[in-house]
Subunit: 348 residues, 2 copies
């Protein structure tokens, strides 16, 4: 590890001169070409690289943004959720020359706590918080009002800007799509009890789903267990069909895993997808690899992460613009049409 001092000594100039020539490039016109060349040559010889922490300390800025990930979903759903979100954050930051630092919870301290600590210490310039997690540990958020933090979905009580998703618009898009295909009797399939329904979706789903004809509910199991979801929904729908209920030509599902279960149940009961029944998923985490590839409402997590990072960067550039009521940026989900929906049989 060589420092400017080594360079300066070798080039027989002052440390400041070396700094100006090698790093800041200010007042370059004030040095003779010979001097500049000497400094560069010396830097090469001792293979000088500027010290990260010294520069950051001096500048009072880190160019790093933190993202806390509590251990909540350790499965394919969590993979998809966080991976897409983090990709969005990462690329937006990278474009602006920032790095992204991801924090995990340990036995002693939550990821959010660690992240907030480094933020206060100046090791991070800001923070993007997947909001699903932000409600864990409410006390962690005391005295954080003025910190540069952006939340992602759903809107939390903390007074930070937030990027949210309009679930209702997503469901509306699904219903509109089905209506255009001639479907009139639509079944809603998803958990309506259990922790997840409480947490995520209660009002959004309820309001968004008023257009459905009927709804089939099943008890939520472990939060976000995809295999479990698929099994639950398969059982529920199979029982429903076995009971002779068949007054629907399309199913809208809570997520892609539930949709996968629905497809399985329909098949087992001799209904073809999409020929006999159309199925729409939600999230677009696994929809592409299912059979048939699912029409689904995309969560657009990449875009949400990207947008959150953009907002954070704006906050860092101009904090005064973000005083007052915190910004809520609502994104529209996107309907991705694949092969699990088609024109209703009775409207062909």
């Amino acid at each position: 590890m060589s420092s400017l001092q080594d360079v300066a000594r070798l080039a027989e100039v002052s440390v400041t001169t070396a700094s100006k020539i090698l790093n800041t490039r200010r007042d370059l016109e004030r040095f003779t070409p010979a001097c500049i060349a000497r400094v560069h040559e010396a830097a090469r010889q001792v293979s000088y690289v500027p010290n990260f922490h010294a520069q950051r300390l001096r500048e009072g800025k880190s160019y790093v943004v933190g993202v806390p990930l509590e251990t909540v979903y350790d499965d394919a759903l969590g993979d998809a959720y966080f991976s897409k979100l983090l990709n969005g954050v990462r690329f937006a930051l990278a474009q602006a020359g920032y790095a992204m630092c991801v924090f995990s919870s340990t036995e002693e301290r939550s990821a959010t706590t660690q992240c907030l600590q480094q933020l206060r210490q100046g090791g991070l310039d800001g923070m993007v918080v997947p909001g699903v997690l932000s409600r864990l540990d409410g006390r962690v958020w005391s005295d954080t009002g003025a910190l540069p933090v952006v939340m992602v979905e759903p809107k939390a009580p903390m007074p930070f800007p937030c990027v949210d998703l309009d679930f209702r618009a997503g469901i509306r898009a699904a219903l509109t799509h089905l209506a255009e295909l001639g479907h009139r009797r639509i079944l809603w399939l998803g958990p309506t009890k259990g922790p997840r329904y409480q947490e995520f979706a209660s009002t959004a789903w309820q309001h968004g789903f008023q257009g459905a004809s009927c709804s089939l509910e099943f008890e939520d199991g472990k939060p976000a267990d995809q295999e479990g979801d698929a099994r639950q929904s398969c059982h529920a729908l199979r029982a429903y069909l076995a009971a002779g209920e068949a007054d629907f030509s399309a199913v809208v599902c809570f997520n892609d895993a539930v949709a996968a279960g629905a497809v399985r149940a329909l098949r087992e009961c001799g209904r073809r997808v999409p020929d006999d029944v159309s199925v729409v998923g939600f999230d677009d985490y696994s929809a592409g690899v299912l059979d048939p590839p699912l029409t689904t409402v995309s969560h657009r997590l990449y875009d949400m992460g990207h947008r959150a990072a953009e907002i954070l960067l704006e906050m860092l550039a101009a904090p005064e613009k973000f005083e007052g009521e915190p910004l809520v940026d609502v994104m529209e989900p996107a309907l991705v049409i694949r092969d699990s929906t088609s024109r209703a049989a009775d409207s062909r």
Copy 2:
């Protein structure tokens, strides 16, 4: 931002005293309780937090490890791959008090370049490199010999420790499982032309797969496009069956997406899975949500990431142990048995 100076001024002690009492806690027995209390009270009043970069500069250590992610796979496969890998790295590091910083490529500079730069600058203590990517930009790796870097799969020519996966053992496990179920005629289904086959698996597959009776090849499309994989393998197997080839009771697939395509083709041709034909996937990225849930060879990426981080931490603690020939840590894949394999029909 208050500093030790502010605290010291307010508590009427020297800066060093404040440092010892608040941060290092060395020589604490040498201060009167009254003094200690005064310093703590002052720290509270000015809400002191130690400065991150100043501490790191002083200590000459960052407690941050970098992971470069080049933009290679921007799809569900990439999500699963990197998410699981990063989770493993993250948790291992978090346990040891390290943070994980993820780098992305920008238009100008590759993620690896950025990461290496910060490593040399002392902003990072080490680096875990998903090896799939390390071969991009060979020149980037010149003059990096002594840096604390650990690679993950596959073994690259760079002289760093590496965590690798024994693909052959994975295939062997799949074949053994099928043999135990009475299968004798096994079809290998996967790309055998195109970039991916070249890159990943050529020798591993070829050697590992000698036990298969026959193999069906299709042209590789875009690297790692899951939907594409499923479509390709579905077409290939459908054509194969349509041509009257049916001399197999089990299929071992290149990855889960290929297996999904295989299941689809088999179904379309009236074969039930697993009753008529057993199917084994590879990777365990999406195997759980497919119908039927796939028996698959798990890539164990979480474990690989975890192990890589552990090795890196050992390197940081005792660099001298890692001189000489770089360590290669080979992990055994794990066979995950789900519902797509069953006893061969002709052996029941």
